[in-house]
Amino acid sequence: MSLQRIKAIATADLKSLWREKAVIFWAVIWPVLMVFISAYVFVPPETGSLKTFMIGVVDLDEGFGNFSGGRLLIDLLRNISYFKVVIYNSTEDLMKDLEKAEVDIGIVIPENFSRNLVFETADLYVYISGSDPQSLQINRGFAQAFFYHFERETAVEKAKRFYNYFQMYQKNFSYIYIPEINMSMSEIVNKTLVGIASPINIFFEDKIPRGIIDRSSIVGWITIGALGMTMLYSGLSFGATAVIIEKERGRLDRMIAAGVKAQDLFFGKMISAGVILLAASVIVIIIGKILGAKIVWNIADFRYWLVPLNLFLVFLMTLSIGFMLSLISKSSRSAGTLGIVLGLLLSFTTGIWIPDFMLPEPMRILAHSFPVTWALDLIRGIMVFDRDINMLISSQIKVVISTILLMALGIIAYRKVISRYVEIV
């Protein structure tokens, strides 16, 4: 093995690859485009922030004494940060805007609403709009949740008013004491009425997996996916064409006659492909960061040093699979195409570009058994989801063992391919 020859091969190959438009397109432009498109089209900047609902209200209620149910409802709506309330003068105007989906929820408060609210059952007209079935469903859900809350508040208010009347006109009855439950009749009536109006207090609390919900984490996930996709098809393509292209262009004979050994060519090719993929990775990560990806690096934390290790292991694995592909390739053109097509196909079916929970069951099995996905998930776990080392260690061992096995098979394939053309190496 000669370092001078390895360096010469790596340098010439690198210069040659760097000047090939197709290599630049697939290694740099394509992944950057994918991150860019995904970040702005599939995960637009407003992703993860709360939706603001447009509420249109027509208030025809004239109030009851000093109580206005309509005013109470409008104030409640205005107190909710994600509701924007617009008051309409007529039902017709509201309907027009609902039909144009400029308003998400329309409310018509009819005449005598306050009076009926106090003494009977009040009617309220709610209209739901939506530009598509999904937003219609969301708008309806939010409207129902709000009015459930409003109904309870109203019921409690009615109970309190009734209790006040009760206390005012049934004073003697109110002071009766019931020793079994250590309460006065007045207290019993009060609590029972409030209990009927609001029988259960339900406490909701959001428990969101760390780092998964916000846009920056999604773009971070996508950025690592684009990186993995690039390394996969580029590695496969470089590995598949490494020997065949040298043979086709007549350089292999010349190199061997000049004393180049199989291992010189192997390492020279590996270095040039590695440099290109390293450059592509840095560019993809920078673009991801610019587009708002959550990608964290902490030099002082040991876990983060597993990231370059895993990128290197991904590179070795994909290159090795590429060497195996060259066994079935007859020309550099077919080898390159096979590498890119298979690489893209695997990216979309093994959880590299599309999250595994979105894949159908058979593909999910493939995703869970593909070592390149394990390595990329490790990188995501560290850089995007800030996972603990204990959660990573078993995957890391699996990735290292898989890389060693794939490398062994790749080297066997490489030697077999080179001996197809050159018998003395």
């Binding site: 004979d253 000049a258 050159v422 003395i424």
Partner: protein, 300 residues
């Protein structure tokens, strides 16, 4: 002269096909040796074995030098890189010092007339320029033996002349040159010793003069006709003359042109085939090859 390369009884099989059948050749220091044969005769396989790319099925190769340099038929260049980049790439593979490679490369580029294009990408070169650059690269190392596979294929006559001069200069500097060619005049002009190879075997060997003396008829009668060229060949063959057509000229081997020429003219006139011109020529290596194998060098 010291023998620098000895190839003995080389047999090469690819599966069931025997491509070389016990080939033996020898190359001495300061000489030019040619392997002359048609395409598919086994020249390139033999040269790839000598260059260390293929392993012979049997036989022995003894190389008594320090370094051999190889010019393959295909250029083996990086098309996206410049001429200089290619030169420096191969110089580093041969583990040459950069300053030596630059000096030698510049000299060779000047001699072959492509120095003005040295910084251009090879993709912009013509076929002839690529061949010349390829030759520059093969001549870079201070090798004892230069192995050139078809060095002038694809070159125009003027460039061919330049390459021949370069090869002769290499010989004068004491290097041995082993080249393959299917150009009869190239072998004839350059070679001190020629091996005629056909279907994987050496069918004859010697200097150009030796071969012609030993194997070629004394003369070749060349006849130009107004028309009926194919018919004339048929008529002459029926009359027992070994004849063939080359570049619209009917060629007839003759041990005794004094007797044969009048006979040929008479036969042709009697069949209404009229002669435009007639020449009695010295035999060439092509004639030797035809005599030995029954086919021409340029036939596929």
């Amino acid at each position: 002269m010291r023998e620098i390369l000895k190839v003995s009884n080389i047999v090469k099989r690819f599966g069931d096909v025997e491509v070389l059948r016990g080939v033996s050749i020898s190359v001495s220091q300061g000489s030019i040796v040619s392997l002359l044969g048609p395409n598919g005769s086994g020249k390139t396989t033999l040269i790839r074995i000598i260059a260390g790319i293929l392993r012979p099925s049997s036989g022995e190769i003894v190389f008594r030098g320090r370094l051999a340099s190889f010019l393959p038929q295909e250029h083996g260049l990086f098309e996206e890189l410049s001429g200089w980049d290619n030169i420096m790439f191969y110089a580093r593979l041969y583990e040459l010092r950069d300053d030596y490679a630059k000096r030698r490369g510049k000299d060779l580029l000047e001699r072959l007339g492509i120095i003005g294009h040295a910084n251009d990408p090879v993709a912009k070169y013509s076929g002839g320029m690529k061949k010349k650059l390829s030759l520059v690269i093969a001549s870079l190392p201070d090798a004892d033996l230069l192995i050139f596979d078809e060095p002038t294929t694809g070159l125009d006559p003027l460039s061919r002349q330049v390459v021949w001069e370069l090869v002769e200069e290499e010989k004068r500097s004491g290097r041995a040159v082993l080249l393959t060619t299917h150009y009869m005049e190239e072998a004839e002009k350059l070679s001190d010793y020629i091996y005629l190879i056909y279907k994987g075997s050496i069918v004859a060997e010697g200097s150009s003069e030796d071969l012609k003396k030993r194997y070629a008829p004394e003369s070749v009668v060349e006849i130009e006709l107004y028309k009926d060229i194919s018919r004339a060949v048929e008529i002459l063959r029926e009359e027992g003359f070994k004849s063939f057509v080359e570049n619209d000229i009917v060629k007839i081997f003759s041990e005794n042109p004094r007797e044969d020429v009048p006979k040929i003219i008479t036969i042709l006139y009697s069949k209404d085939v009229y002669v435009k011109s007639l020449k009695v020529a010295e035999p060439t290596l092509e004639d030797v090859f035809i005599k030995l194998t029954g086919r021409r060098l340029s036939e596929e």
